[in-house]
Symmetry: D2
Subunit: 265 residues, 4 copies
């Protein structure tokens, strides 16, 4: 399906402040960017680089005063995400090298502390996709999804002590459990077409049956179109913006996604 | 300055044919893509990857029949290219690792055969930028620039026996001579704003004085805006399209570049 | 100076177990490996790859039974680590791209939780090297260095609540504080020549004044020779061995480092 | 099998001269380095980096006077190279990204000039491994293998006009023909155990049936152990040493390979 998505971020910057942005979706095997717009207002010199995980990142120094970042694009994505019940666990020695970083514990996914819990959660389940599905089911049963509530980023061990969670929290908990079972798992930040209220979204992917599969504990089914903006080990790697120096307040953030019949001319 | 550039390629494809395209300019330290469009007609599944030199490449199988590729973008680039007479030669042992591949001979730049010629050309000239400038001057004096004439790609040794050349030929000869002097040199394919007749363009960059500088034997001065689409060792690395299997004829190619006051909304 | 270093790891493996090893020092700008030995007993098929941070890693499946890994090398290293009091802070926008991952919080270095503490620690100190030195001084004053005590890996926030620490803990705390000040900081695992008792060692590097500098809170001065085996964001990235599946006990670990006059023939 | 191999290069250096060396075999999926020695005499500061193709390269400035480089290693390699008659051609659109650079023409393999010849050579042969084997057969029939004779490096089109060739020439011709058929092909430089007279060796690999296979026109069968030191597009990428500035004469080069029962302690 074709989606039109946009994101507008408005800041009031007290003093010139360095930013790293991760707002440009890559064309890849899952999605094709047909039209794209990326505007900085006021116009500001920016430099793009590719990070460790292949994401396109933009570096700039936001000038003091009102500063606005606006991205928009027409993108073709799959109508829904693949599911594969029964897809087998890939033994560690057969994993492709690039999946290995996603086995390690990371800032918000302390998989080293989840061995016991993960093992007991999936007891009796066939190793692989079904274990991931079971983890998602556990997350859905133990945490109420409360979009928009949760400013400070918390880690999987902290999430696990709560009763409600945002999309990011649920992804962190899912990732931590998968890695504890030696299943590579990574964070995805992006857009989801039917998401209400509209916002940027986060979910995770796990590597089973020889490829990455999408898991999203916030959704009962995987219907709908997903746009991936960035991949990483957890939220620390995939912030859509990281700013340095004294904290800058965001005035406004507008996210919009809609299905379109075809890219506009 | 802001430029609007576009490129449209039309093919008649006899049988489904694999292509690799290199048509997406990257935002980087020299240019910022504010708007971009990349359309395949009929709509065709494509996969993007990054090549050895950091270029964004698109893989696809063009279906039999009429097939059209259309890219367009609004991009901010420098008003003119920097010049630096006197910028010194960088001793090989001080060159950054990523420049080293651009010291080696390559398909169309047989620098191993140009040691004597290059040395005699720059006799008495201070090592570095001035040597490159002298090489450009030699190319301009010995070859008439005849845009549009020259279908088969020929190598620097072949170019050197001719009296006229296209932009690509001149770049190959310049690169071969620079490398023969242990100056890293690389090919750039892209757009040049005031170029007439309008076409895709090729020039080269040489690494002296601690950075890459633009050299373009087709132009008497470096005035005007340049959009880089791809970097490589020579034309073999930076073809805007490479097709495999039986040769496919291109029906039409339209390139357009113009200066605009600001990116359109 | 020339060092001879060796590391022998003996395991009793209950069932065939996948390992990733990081035991091969790279020759680089700081050290030169003149002789090296890397033996697996019993002989086992191993595959080497380069991880995200440039470390050479070896993948293998250790067979059930007694399994031993032995590495040894003659290596030339600097007589002591450079110090640079007064070396300035590098503004984020001027940092080289490869340093940027070392600004982000990571599993054992929750720099996002250290902003206030780090800021108050370095109040009145010139940004850059001197801030790092002040952080090291704080670590030395608040934690007793107790080599060999501390099996479970704990994170900087946990370290900060204790009164004693191993080398790894001290490095994690130092890294977390540096990153909280927007100074890139990374973990190093390796050998230190005069270390007693002999063991593998961990320290950290911070990027100030345009290069990486060594900081080691376990040592009052930076005298002595250092061999770097692996670089990473924290201990999660640079484990000399990571094993998957049910935990395997290590029977014995022998580390030896000594100064030699020249590599043996 | 286990091999012990060594290479000693002696130079008389008129003035300090920058070198890039490619003499360190990597442990990987095909070979395991158990012991290694790498000595520079006189001892000289060297820096190692990884090139575009994953080879470990060493940069140094050889001081004026006598200069010697000596490498030696014990390495485990396969007893013989795999053959796979009938292994199918991989359509370009299914090739892994990292194989794509090996489809392009390069300095000494002008595959763009071999389309007709390659097509006629393999007429009627099943696409894939058998085409490569046919190309090898053609090379063996049309060129006498004359080891040691052939100082200047010549390209595939030049080789094709001769009646005798060194290993490097034969590899270049084989690579050019494979690429002309859209089969990725790459140059390998290394050691071959039973080679007489002993020397460094060159052969090529082609990507068919989903993996790289070894082809060596100098040998009637692929028996014997091979050590790969470097991979690249052709001899320009994989020179065991590249020197810059005025040519330096090599006084002596000694290569030695022998089978051993096990690595020495």
């Amino acid at each position: 399906m074709w989606l039109h998505a946009s994101c507008k971020l408005d800041f009031e910057i007290p003093v010139a402040t360095p930013f790293i942005l991760m707002l440009r979706p890559r064309s890849g095997s899952q999605q094709w960017v047909a039209r794209e717009q990326y505007m900085l207002n006021p116009s500001t010199e920016a430099v793009e680089f590719t990070d460790l995980f292949g994401n396109l990142c933009q570096r700039l120094v936001a000038p003091a005063g009102f500063f606005s970042i606006q991205t928009a694009f027409d993108i073709e994505v799959a109508d829904s995400s693949d599911v594969a019940p029964g897809a087998p666990f890939v033994p560690v020695e057969q994993l492709p090298d690039p999946t290995l970083p996603f086995l390690l514990p990371s800032r918000y996914c302390e998989s080293d502390r989840f061995s016991q819990m993960a093992a007991s959660l999936v007891e009796g389940i066939n190793p692989g996709y079904n274990q991931c599905a079971k983890i998602v089911e556990y997350i859905q049963n133990s945490l109420a999804y409360t979009p928009g509530e949760g400013q400070e980023i918390i880690s999987a061990t902290e999430v696990n002590q709560k009763s409600q969670a945002v999309c990011r929290d649920m992804a962190h908990l899912g990732i931590a459990c998968c890695r504890a079972l030696s299943i590579p798992a990574r964070m995805v930040v992006g857009y989801l077409e039917p998401l209400r209220p509209m916002d940027l979204h986060a979910w995770f992917e796990a590597y089973v049956g020889g490829r990455w599969y999408t898991f999203d504990p916030t959704q009962q089914t995987l219907a709908g179109g997903r746009v991936a903006i960035a991949y990483g080990r957890d939220a620390a790697d995939v912030a859509v913006y990281t700013q340095f120096g004294d904290p800058v307040e965001i005035l406004n953030m507008e996210v919009h996604v809609e299905q379109i019949s075809a890219p506009t001319d």
